[in-house]
Amino acid sequence: MKNVNDFEIIDSVIAGNHSDYRFLIDRYKNKAFGMLRRMLRNDADAEEVLQDCFLKAYKNLSGFNRKSKFSTWFFRIVYNTALNRINSAARKQEKERTDLESLDNFHFGEQDNLSELEEKKELITKLVNQLPPKYSAVVTLFYVEEQTIEEIAGIMNMTESNVKVMLFRARKSLKDYITQNNLEGELR
């Protein structure tokens, strides 16, 4: 199924081969899980929300108009579901905290035993995870999922300029932290 594109899988599912939906799940589960884990900061919640997202996507599959990539459409579901979960947990506080907030007062937490980390890559993952949820989502979508600014704007229901502002701030913060802590040499 590696050579089959998303639209072909969708056609097959709509035609009645429901079990083919598992190929879409396998294709996107880890990528979406990464984004959800960063936004929700809890593995169990992330996995539960991800199940809901795949269920929602399945129910609406026949309504997917194919004007965008399936991944863009699916990540929009993931992002909105995560945001709903965050908002229902701490609606007011989180909204204030994440609504295009400035990163001026944001500081990465202390990293324990940096030198003892088995995988140095874990550190950058931890740093991205510490960003506010929306920033973390932008960074993940841009760098890891390789979505364009336009696609991210569509997923997050924002203007492209807001996405750029968030990405710029997050990138600068990460670069500053890495440089200030002389991690760029270690993290190769």
Binding site: I25, F33, R171
Partner: protein, 168 residues
């Protein structure tokens, strides 16, 4: 010398620099060690973030989702409603074809036998007589036959969906 701004280096990342700006950037980086370091730090940061590996969900995740989807498939009536509709329509049209055939034969038999039409032999009111005439007409029988085959085909495909659902 004016140093490169973070904004300019960001626009490089998003591919928004014009050819002239790209050349200026390149020339400046060749001459300015400070900006070269800044540029390198951004590039290293970008590379590090790009290399983040997505975490893996639990092994049973896919099965768990598919198990949650199964009741949705059954409830959604992808097949059930349509199957029952086709089934009932097939039977109705089949009944119409048979009724038309029987009534037509009975009328023909009574005419050939020199007797009166079956509708005349029974005390039908005019209303029922008209219905009987319509049902026994050739046009009605042809339409019924076409509908019958249409619904039978629908029934077959819906059954196929059921079969796939069962094997799922």
């Amino acid at each position: 010398m004016t140093h490169l701004s973070d904004e300019l280096l960001f626009r490089e990342l998003t591919g928004e620099l014009s050819d002239i700006e790209k050349n200026e950037l390149k020339l400046h980086l060749e001459q300015c060690a400070e900006c070269r370091t800044l540029h390198q730090n951004y590039i290293k940061t970008d590379r590090l973030i790009m290399n983040i590996e997505p975490p893996e969900v639990s092994e049973e995740f896919t099965s768990a989702v598919m198990n949650r989807i199964k009741p949705v498939i059954i409830r959604s009536g992808i097949s059930t409603g349509r199957f029952l509709t086709y089934l009932s329509l097939t039977f109705v049209t089949l009944f119409s074809v048979l009724a038309g055939y029987l009534i037509s034969n009975m009328n023909q038999g009574s005419r050939e036998g020199g007797g009166e039409s079956v509708f005349n032999s029974v005390d039908f009111t005019g209303y029922y007589e008209k219905i009987g005439a319509v049902i026994s007409s050739q046009a009605f029988q042809i339409v019924s036959m076409v509908l019958f085959f249409g619904f039978a085909v629908g029934l077959f495909f819906t059954y196929e969906k059921f079969r796939k659902l069962k094997s799922y």
